[in-house]
């Protein structure tokens, strides 16, 4: 015997309105027969029953709206008809029938009297042509398009006692997801209770991150994973207990302007979040206070890449240059030529920087940004600039930067070329007045003196403070960067 309950006809369905009964008490029904029409928010759906037997009492009047799982009618079981048959859920076993008696005695809390001959008799399913998908009593129903077994069986084809089923409905537990520990894998009351209190699904994390989380007492569930497919990595766990470095860029201490004050929350789980917040505050302030204007130009990099290739061929790997070194050098030289972009906006006026000190944005593997500084970048040959770049990026990522290496930049460069994008319009680091962005060096068709060819090109952008300069100054600067890159040998 069993109950016919309000089915869940969609993952978001909480309740349904019984529109119409298609059977009356005393009717004989077979599994798969349509016996009622239920109205959901979307449409009216014909609902099948999953038990064979005789319709007993109808518990709900048409027109009533009831929560999913509410018993609508009692289906009284008939004796097994014919032989045992296989069901979609699995084989019917002798153990199951052996269990029937013991199950019958479990049912004292069921909402309907349980006849002693409680048998979940397997009967061939009669699919309803063009009928609705099989509905299930579970309030947490997953896809209902598969040909699932009856709702009084778990996914293993095991019969479930009415008591357990009732409990599952009451507690909102999807029986299909419950691991049965009873005889032959049957779901017991304890299993349902355990499932109700089970945590969320397992977090994807690397073995080391898992070990570290235990050692540091961090809950993996709350972490944002930065690894492959969102896996939580060791760095993510560490971030949760240690605030990473926060980008603070401002003039050198001598310049009388303290770096922006950034209040960091302390304590576990605050690290990554606080870094994000600090970046957020600084960048919000920048966009709030600084009227940005933006310029972009595409620069032919053929000369620069050829020069790099020739130069690198003669050198050991450790002394090779990457394009970034040339780009930084070009920016530093251009900043010397167009000094109005190199400095700070302080107390309503522009203060030119003493020397060209290039900050460059480094994305940290643990999240967030650092902006180490190459001091007097305009005076360094590209090889020396490259060495400093390597050293600073390495130490930035390992969190080993010294104070002087993160302050005093007069102009910042951000390069997202290694991320494969072609253009980046950055946000100025207050109190600086400009930020230069480089995308990836990519091959593009390129027209030159009426001829078409393929050249490596890079898009250089400038975000500048309109209070300090106008577009013409910015244009002069970007043009200078492009011009300098055409003569890499003199950079």
């Amino acid at each position: 015997m069993g109950e016919f309950t309000m089915p869940s006809l969609g993952a978001d369905m909480r309740a349904g309105t019984l529109q119409e009964w298609l059977v009356a008490p005393g009717d004989t029904v077979s599994r798969g027969d349509v016996i009622a029409v239920v109205e959901t928010d979307k449409s009216a759906i014909e609902v099948e029953c999953f038990e064979s037997g005789t319709v007993g009492r109808l518990l709900v009047e048409p027109g009533a709206k009831v929560p999913v799982g509410t018993p609508l009618a009692v289906i009284e079981a008939t004796e097994p008809a014919g032989g045992w048959e296989r069901q979609s859920g699995g084989a019917v076993t002798a153990a199951e029938t052996a269990g029937a008696e013991s199950r019958a005695t479990e049912g004292k809390a069921a909402s309907a009297p349980v006849p002693a001959a409680d048998r979940a008799a397997p009967v061939r399913r009669r699919p309803v042509a063009g009928g609705p998908p099989a509905a299930r009593t579970s309030p947490l129903s997953r896809s209902t398009s598969d040909d699932r077994g009856p709702d009084d069986r778990d996914s293993g084809g095991q019969a479930v006692s009415p008591l357990v089923r009732h409990l599952a409905v009451e507690r909102g537990v999807d029986l299909a997801t419950v691991h049965g520990t009873g005889p032959g894998g049957r779901i017991t009351r304890t299993d349902v209770e355990r499932a109700e209190h089970a945590g969320p699904p397992r977090v994807r994390a690397t073995p080391y991150a898992r070990r570290l989380a235990v050692e540091l007492g961090v809950d993996l569930a709350g972490l944002h994973g930065t690894g492959a497919a969102g896996a939580v990595r060791a760095a993510d766990v560490r971030d949760a207990v240690r605030p990473p470095s926060v980008p603070v860029s401002g003039p050198r201490p001598a310049a009388a302007q303290p770096p922006p004050e950034i209040q960091l929350p302390s304590g576990a789980r605050a690290g990554a979040a606080s870094a994000r917040r600090a970046i957020g505050e600084l960048m919000s302030r920048s966009k709030r206070e600084i009227p940005h204007y933006y310029l972009a130009t595409t620069i032919d990099m053929a000369a620069a890449t050829n020069w790099l290739r020739d130069r690198n061929r003669e050198r050991p790997v450790g002394e090779r240059l990457i394009p970034a070194a040339l780009l930084l050098k070009a920016v530093a030289s251009a900043a010397r030529q167009v000094p109005d972009l190199n400095g700070f906006w302080e107390d309503g006026g522009f203060v030119q920087g003493r020397g060209v000190h290039l900050g460059f944005a480094v994305s940290l593997r643990g999240g967030g940004l650092a902006a180490p500084v190459i001091h007097d970048a305009d005076a360094l040959p590209p090889g020396e600039l490259m060495a400093q770049l390597k050293d600073l990026v390495g130490r930035a990522r390992r969190g080993r930067l010294r104070g002087t290496e993160t302050t005093g930049s007069t102009l910042t460069v951000t390069s997202l070329g290694d991320q494969g994008v072609e253009t980046v319009f950055g946000v100025i680091h207050p109190p600086q007045v400009a930020l230069v962005g480089f995308g990836a060096v990519v091959e593009r068709p390129w027209a030159d003196h009426g001829m078409l060819g393929v050249r490596p090109v890079v898009t250089a952008t400038l975000s500048a403070d309109h209070r300090a300069t106008d577009g013409a100054v910015g244009a002069r600067f970007l043009t200078a960067v492009g011009r300098l890159l055409q003569k890499p040998e003199v950079l």
Partner: protein
């Protein structure tokens, strides 16, 4: 003093021949011609044709002769031209040299050293260029060594000769002309351990033989990107020095195994498996492999280079496991 890998090997041979009357060198063209790769050049003039013996082209015969001589109490050093040709002697090495101690209940030992050239990179085409070290590392009963540095080229032979069981030494063909500084008094080295050639924090690059210089180059390239790579030279391919490997992985939490051999069933696969068996809870990323392409090594230079692990491909694999925040 400045020397080459080839000269370091020759110095080791000269020292071994001079130190012990029982030692002799046998192989194709090892005499007047100086060996296929010039390692034994001049030794026949120094020690005579009895101690530096040319053989016909018959790997099975002369390796078998070496095994017999070892059983009879001599200390033969057998040179096989390349690992490809050593397959003709694999029956002798596997079924005789590696088994006799066991099958004789410990009564027989085969104190034999077999030297052979391995690896690609010199446009010698498929039949002279494969890397089958992993096959030999599969055989219980022998020790397998892969000198990748000058000190190892100079110092592995003496302890190999002292080993009462067969030792196979793989010399990577691309290393013979590598020159560098070697201490004048360089002598025997330990042959049971791996070595950390470069320290780093972010990822361990495990390599052996001809891939070691490439792994070191990759570490350089990575450094320019702020990734510090630790480079471990496996040195001993059988037995593998698990302790050094695991200690490094415990420090860096990430590993890339570089192996010129074919990927499937490679020595790299063995190293990866050991790492996941023994250092699983230290791993912060899946273990990666950079291996040779599964093709007969091509003759054409650019295809040959494309078929082998290169600093760039090692770097790419390392970046992948270190991970970037996109």
């Amino acid at each position: 003093m400045t020397t080459t890998y080839r000269e370091a090997l020759r110095d080791a041979l000269r020292e071994a021949l001079a130190a012990d009357e029982r030692v002799f060198l046998i192989g194709e063209d090892v005499g007047a011609y100086g060996g296929a790769f010039g390692v034994s050049l001049g030794l026949v003039e120094e020690f005579g044709p009895l101690r530096v013996r040319n053989t016909p082209l018959s790997e099975s015969a002369f390796v078998g002769a070496g095994i017999g001589a070892a059983l009879a109490g001599l200390r033969p050093i057998v040179e096989v031209m390349t690992v490809n040709f050593s397959l003709l002697a694999l029956d002798q090495i596997l079924n005789n040299a590696a088994t006799l101690r066991h099958m004789s209940g410990g009564q027989l030992s085969v104190p034999l050293v077999i030297r052979m050239t391995t690896g690609a990179g010199r446009q010698l085409a498929a039949q002279h260029s494969h890397s089958l070290e992993g096959w030999y590392a599969h055989i219980p009963g022998i020790r397998v060594l892969a000198p990748a540095t000058l000190p190892d080229a100079r110092g592995m032979l003496t302890p190999a000769l002292a080993d009462p069981d067969p030792v196979v030494i793989f010399e990577h063909g691309s290393l013979y002309n590598v020159s560098g500084e070697l201490e004048a008094g360089a002598g025997p080295v330990d042959i049971s351990s791996a070595a950390v050639l470069r320290e780093g924090e972010d990822v361990t690059l495990l390599a052996y033989g001809g891939s070691v210089p490439k792994a070191l180059d990759a570490a350089e390239l990575l450094a320019s990107d702020g990734v510090t790579a630790e480079v471990v030279d496996l040195r001993s391919l059988r037995p593998l020095d698990d302790a050094t490997i695991m200690a490094s992985v415990a420090r860096t939490h990430r590993a890339v195994v570089v192996d010129e051999g074919w990927r499937t069933g490679s020595l790299a696969a063995e190293v990866c498996t050991r790492i996941t068996e023994q250092a699983f809870w230290d791993l912060d990323a899946p273990v990666a492999r950079v291996c040779g392409a599964e093709v007969p090594i091509p003759y054409a230079a650019h295809l040959e280079q494309a078929a082998l692990p290169q600093p760039e491909s090692i770097t790419a694999a390392a970046r992948e496991v270190v991970g970037r925040r996109g």
